[in-house]
Amino acid sequence: MADENKTPQELTDAEIEAVAHSVPKADEYPKGQGEELAKELTSDSTGLEEAAVAGLQKTEELSEKAIPKAWDAGISGIQDAIESFGTKPQTPHEALASEHHGDTTVLFGKEYPVPLYTAVFGALAALTLLEVLIAEIITSDVKIPFLIGIAVAKALLVVLFYMHLRDDNRIFALVLAVPLGIATLSALFLLAVPTTGY
């Protein structure tokens, strides 16, 4: 058996092993020994420890009453709410994927079993054919505003749906709009320059 006056650091490996084997395993303790040990411990405890134990017992009794139960339920509810926030929220991409770019297309409140991207492609193809028909049929310059209008509509379809500007952060639209606006104003200003001298 190890010398009881030795500190743990002074024990040899063989002594440590001997101590380990001398301690009974949890299921080897005779029944009731734990309670007796607890009684022994409380018998020489201080008044402060007794008060703490009494306080804990009282709390346990009170926790069975309605008001503390309601309080517990409230705290649990708040905790659940916080944890639900803790799950990663949908990113804009995911929101896009689940809401607007799903496997169906909602048009005028009616749902069609065609993926939105495919529906947009169909619209782009139809508008392109319409453009070519207008360009081939109408020979005068009357066609120009129609053709430009269709081209702008097609460009908007791509930008809004394929480039996701419809759902993404507004800053992206601003980044696109500012140079486009300045360039358009510059073009209009340039077009005001007379083409012939006087």
């Binding site: 995911e94 993926p115 947009v120 392109t128 453009e131 360009a135 081209a151 460009a155 140079p179 073009a187």
Partner: protein
């Protein structure tokens, strides 16, 4: 309880910040596209001024050049854009294989587009539509035509190379349903190239 409220408020503020935050890569791409907007707008303005001042020259070109080839090419590019978003949809559904397949379609259509553009340029050169002012038979139409379309074609070539790189990364498992911003950024570029062509097609070939 006070500690809990503060913690909750902090958490809510974090979530609000996250919701308002923007993806840096996408923002960078949009800024780059803004610079491209300026470049292409200048080309378009130059062409529009030519179209306004010399309408007879442009009409002469339109009479000589058919719309069949360029319309077909336009459909190729529109289809490639559709394939691009369908690929994006696949990775959103955790299907990298589907992403690679759709991006493959995008790349092939891009290559065909550029190939047909080369065929078209050859045809136009036979019609005396050239870059040189002395040989161009349509009062300088060639310069105004080739500059924006060739610049656009170069963008398609770069896009195809980029597309192949995105496919390579996808094959190595770099993208997933929660991480596909790389695909989306490439998509922004490709769709922008599509938008530019939509405008060039109408303004140069139809108007």
């Amino acid at each position: 309880m006070t500690e809990l409220s503060l913690e909750h408020a902090q958490h809510t503020a974090d979530l609000q910040r996250e919701a308002l935050s923007i993806d840096n890569q996408k923002f960078a791409m949009w800024l780059y596209l803004a610079s491209e907007v300026v470049i292409f707008t200048v080309f378009i303005i130059v062409y529009v001024i030519f179209r306004i001042n010399q309408p007879e020259e442009v009409k002469g070109v339109h009479e000589d050049v058919g719309l069949l080839l360029v319309t077909f090419n336009t459909f190729l590019l529109l289809t490639s854009s559709w394939a691009m978003v369908m690929g994006l949809r696949q990775i959103q559904k955790s299907n990298p294989r589907g992403l690679i397949q759709w991006l493959g379609v995008t790349a092939v259509l891009g290559v065909i587009f550029v190939g047909l553009q080369y065929v078209e340029y050859n045809e136009l050169s036979h019609l005396s539509i050239t870059l040189s002012r002395t040989t161009d038979g349509f009062g300088g139409f060639g310069t105004r035509f080739y500059t924006p379309t060739a610049f656009h074609g170069a963008h398609v070539i770069i896009g195809v190379i980029w597309c192949l790189e995105v496919m390579r990364r996808a094959s190595k498992g770099r993208y997933s349903a929660r991480n596909y911003v790389g695909v989306e950024v490439f998509g922004l570029y490709w769709h922008f190239v599509d938008v530019v062509w939509i405008l060039l097609f109408t303004l140069i070939y139809l108007v």
